[in-house]
């Protein structure tokens, strides 16, 4: 732990000061305070359990995610108390998932054995969503079972990560060096590259069919960046950009809603009450924050910006705690990403290394795509901001991934000798 315990307590202070302010403003009710109490108790309990079991996973990673989570909860309370109620519950569940992964699953390598099963799960889930999913705001990305909604896309993230990590660790050499000579290029053979191409093609195609463009973009970046990280061949990056360009252009030509997205991105002011409404309101909120922000509960974004509690939550944060606060949130996410890479560098086996890097890449691209969207640096594609946006599926999945990261770092910190399982692959 070494002093990071204090950082964890700081999170509690942020939570309660934030909620206190909102309570005084009459935006938080007693019920939320109770929920927050349970959440805080779980945070403390976790800290105690970590102490007792001499948990050796990356402490900064955990403290940082908790801080992001806390900021998200405070802002959700500010935006919509009813959503915050449920989100506190999800957050508590998320903590449980995290500790289950850390203390019950213990060794992530168990999960690396089912390479093609993971791939199948991913494609099947997406396919089922397309067939039976519920369509909300243009995208068919929800599953509804017995009144309980969840986003399968989020689960697919886990399956894909495991598939990619086990696939890449197995075929690394061939992907890097290549076996077939095409002119001056040395490419991997079809048997090796096939599963990767089929998997990526399938999942992206299904996502496009569901019109989940943001998630498709996240997955595409994940495929390409992970392939690059493992093989270190700039060739793959070089190929991916024109492919993205051509696909994007085709999408622009074929789909009306893509054209609308691009048009409102280029100039949201032309139709700031129609198609450009979302992005214009987002920018009005962000720009109103100036350097120090309007103060918690004082912004207009919370009720002016559509989807303020999900895709656009960062606009509200940037408004109410200003440039200073928004930068802090950016840095927290950057810390999480870089910390995940650090876990990757220290992991003792190839699978763990690739998995940790993949998780870091996933969180990084998700954050970049949605934040660049709300600040008009890229066309807007609505995806949740990890740990911040309202939504149980995203929250649980990201806590699960965090648990895996903690697991990898825990195993590497404990050293190879403490392992019961045979080490798969080798340390780089």
């Amino acid at each position: 732990m070494k002093g990071y315990g204090l950082l964890r307590l700081l999170n509690l202070i942020i939570l309660w000061v934030g909620l206190g302010v909102l309570y005084l403003e009459g935006r938080a009710n007693q019920q939320i305070l109770w929920q927050a109490g349970v959440f805080s108790a779980l945070l403390l309990l976790g800290l105690v359990v970590e102490k007792i079991t001499a948990y050796q996973g990356d402490p900064l990673l955990l403290a940082t995610v908790h801080m992001i989570m806390t900021i998200g909860l405070v802002f959700l309370t500010r935006i919509r108390a009813a959503s915050a109620m449920r989100q506190f519950w999800w957050a508590s569940m998320g903590l449980c998932v995290f500790y289950l992964v850390v203390f019950v699953l213990k060794d992530y390598r168990k999960l690396g054995r089912y390479q093609y099963l993971w791939g199948l799960v991913a494609v099947a889930t997406l396919f089922l969503t397309l067939l039976f999913g519920v369509t909300t705001s243009g995208a068919t990305s929800w599953f509804s079972i017995g009144g309980f909604n969840f986003e399968p896309e989020e689960l697919v993230k886990i399956a894909l990560l495991f598939f990619l990590a086990s696939y890449l660790s197995e075929h690394e050499e061939i992907l890097r060096v290549g076996t077939v000579q095409v002119g001056w290029l040395s490419l991997p053979d079809w048997r090796t590259l096939g599963p990767f191409l089929i998997m990526s093609g399938f999942s992206l195609g299904l996502l496009a069919a569901q019109k989940s463009l943001g998630t498709a973009l996240v997955f595409y970046s994940l495929f390409v960046l992970m392939l690059f990280v493992v093989t270190e061949r700039p060739f793959y990056l070089g190929v991916s950009l024109p492919v993205l360009g051509v696909t994007g252009y085709l999408g622009y030509v074929l789909f009306g809603h893509v054209r609308v997205r691009v048009a409102t991105w280029l100039n949201p002011w032309i139709d700031s009450s129609g198609d450009g409404y979302q992005i214009a309101q987002s920018l009005f909120a962000i720009s109103g924050g100036k350097i120090l922000g309007t103060g918690l509960g004082n912004g207009i974004g919370a009720f002016q910006v559509p989807a303020a509690s999900t895709d656009f939550i960062f606009s509200v944060i940037a408004e109410e705690i200003g440039f200073a606060g928004a930068m802090a949130v950016l840095l927290l996410f950057l810390i999480v990403v870089l910390r995940a890479f650090r876990v990757s560098l220290r992991a003792i086996d190839r699978f763990g290394q690739i998995l940790a890097a993949g998780i870091g890449i996933l969180i990084g691209t998700e954050t970049l795509i949605i934040l660049a969207g709300v600040t008009k640096l890229l066309p807007l594609t609505g995806i949740p901001l990890p740990w911040v946006s309202y939504g149980g599926s995203s929250l649980l999945v990201h806590f699960f991934l965090l648990g895996i990261l903690a697991n990898i770092s825990q195993v590497s910190a404990a050293g190879p000798f403490s392992l019961k399982n045979k080490v798969r692959g080798y340390a780089g």
Partner: protein
């Protein structure tokens, strides 16, 4: 794999830096620009947390006020339509306009905020805005309003010595107290009641001759020389005719202005040359932004904002008596009259007397400043004499007041087509020591003497009787 990871880490770090540039751009660079975007409801929403200050006339009459009953804020305008569209409005539904919009920073306590207001603003606490006290005199405003009611037009009165605006009426207007209910009907109503006609552009007609006079003097024309007006003349192949083709016979400068002889001004104006004329109009502020608290359209000689470098003879001839492409606002025309009254110096016009906070501290106070020196003292005196002649023995006689010497000039501007002429009247009084200058314009009102002069006369009479503009 290490190397690959380093590259990706570097890539992410750079992307995050780009994101932070994006934040700097929106939150610092473009912050104010977006605040003023009409689709941005921030200011209006913020207003709900502020008690908008009141607007008062120079004698403390309440013109606009925010009343709070049972935590419900309501903006009330006790004088109704009399001050509209000058005063404007400020509503949650329809935003703000007029003085309510232009003085919003003062009224909301944003501009030159006191330390208390600064802190309240920082934490968005409920706070009290500032009161704006105008130079306007409600009694005079009311007289001008009564005169213009039912017509389309504008009247502006100011103190030529200080530039203080005493009355500013534009008709048709609207009742600001029932704006939200009547919005749909008002927006469709003919005559657009939301447009402040005092700041809109019209051809000045013969009132332009007071400006042309300066060019004629400066080219060395002897004002005593006689000119034979035969009812029309031909200049450079263009026929210049008098109103109703009336022949004025032998006229000198004074009688030409008093009788509003077009051919005299066209002949000598063209003789003076385009440079002399363009310099004169520039001296009166054509093509310049008038330094006023509210936006006034730029007066123009040709169909472009700036005064041109040259003017062809035909256009020059028409411009000398205010036709051609000459356009000016009633507000600017009042300033022209005030400049002649004030020995050639046009004072910077202002309508805000002072701004006071809720503890009666004066935050801002205007003081008289000169804007332009349009004429020399002698030139101003010559024009004044001719304007006196116009009232005593010329077209401007309907504006005369017994016991007070008024100096005035009429105008009947052809708007183009077969429409009835715009009636103009500019005046100041008393001629020997002017205290008030007035410009009245009635759209399609007919002749200046008939339609506009009586309104100006009432304004001047009230002002001098009530000693408007004298310190309280």
């Amino acid at each position: 794999m290490k190397k690959g990871l380093r590259y990706i880490a570097l890539g992410f770090s750079i992307s995050f830096i780009f994101l932070s540039f994006g934040l700097v751009y929106w939150q610092v660079v473009r912050s104010d620009a977006l605040l003023n975007n009409p689709a941005n409801r921030r200011l209006i929403l913020m207003e709900q947390r502020v008690d908008r200050g009141g607007i008062f006339d120079r004698n403390g009459e309440i013109l606009a006020q925010t009343q709070t009953t049972n935590n419900q804020k309501k903006r009330v305008y006790p004088k109704g339509e009399v001050l509209e569209p000058l005063l404007g409005y400020a509503t949650l539904q329809h935003g703000s306009a007029g003085m309510e919009a232009n003085f919003g920073d003062w009224l909301l306590g944003i501009k030159q905020a006191t330390p208390t207001q600064e802190i309240e603003q920082l934490f968005q606490l409920p706070r009290q805005g500032n009161d704006v006290v105008l130079t306007l005199d409600y009694r005079l405003q009311k007289v001008a309003y009564e005169g213009l009611k039912g017509k389309m037009g504008a009247a502006v009165a100011l103190d030529p010595r200080t530039g203080e605006i005493l009355a500013l009426v534009s008709q048709p207007g609207f009742d600001p107290n029932s704006l939200d209910q009547n919005w749909a009907e008002l927006s469709k109503r003919s005559g657009s009641p939301f447009v402040n006609r005092a700041f809109a552009l019209y051809p000045p007609g013969s009132t332009m001759k007071v400006i042309t006079s300066a060019a004629i003097f400066r080219s060395g024309v002897n004002t005593g020389d006689l000119y034979n007006c035969t009812g029309s003349t031909v200049i450079n192949g263009q026929v210049i005719s008098e109103q109703n083709d009336k022949a004025h016979g032998w006229v000198n400068y004074d009688t030409a202005l008093a009788d509003s002889c077009n051919t005299y001004f066209a002949t000598f104006g063209v003789q003076s040359g385009d440079q002399q004329f363009l310099n004169a109009v520039k001296g009166f502020g054509f093509g310049q932004t008038i330094p006023f608290e509210l936006p006034v359209s730029l007066s123009q000689i040709t169909n472009q904002a700036r005064v041109p470098k040259q003017l062809n003879t035909n256009l020059l001839a028409a411009s000398t008596f205010g036709q051609g492409e000459v356009l000016i606002s009633p507000f600017h025309m009042a300033l022209v009259a005030a400049g002649i009254a004030n020995h050639g110096v046009i004072m910077t016009p202002h309508i805000v007397n002072q701004v006071i906070d809720d503890k009666q501290n004066v935050l801002y106070k205007t003081s008289p400043k000169s804007w332009l020196t349009a004429l020399s003292t002698e030139e101003a005196a010559k024009i004044k004499n001719a304007m006196v002649a116009a009232v005593n023995d010329g077209t401007a006689s309907p504006g005369g007041i017994s016991g007070i010497q008024v100096a005035a000039k009429t105008g009947s501007a052809e708007p183009g087509g077969n429409d009835k002429t715009h009636a103009w009247y500019i005046a100041f009084a008393p001629a020997e020591a002017p205290q008030i200058a007035v410009a009245v314009m009635v759209e399609h009102g007919g002749t200046g003497g008939g339609a506009a002069a009586p309104i100006a006369r009432d304004i001047i009479q009230t002002a001098l009787n009530e000693k408007v503009g004298e310190s309280k």
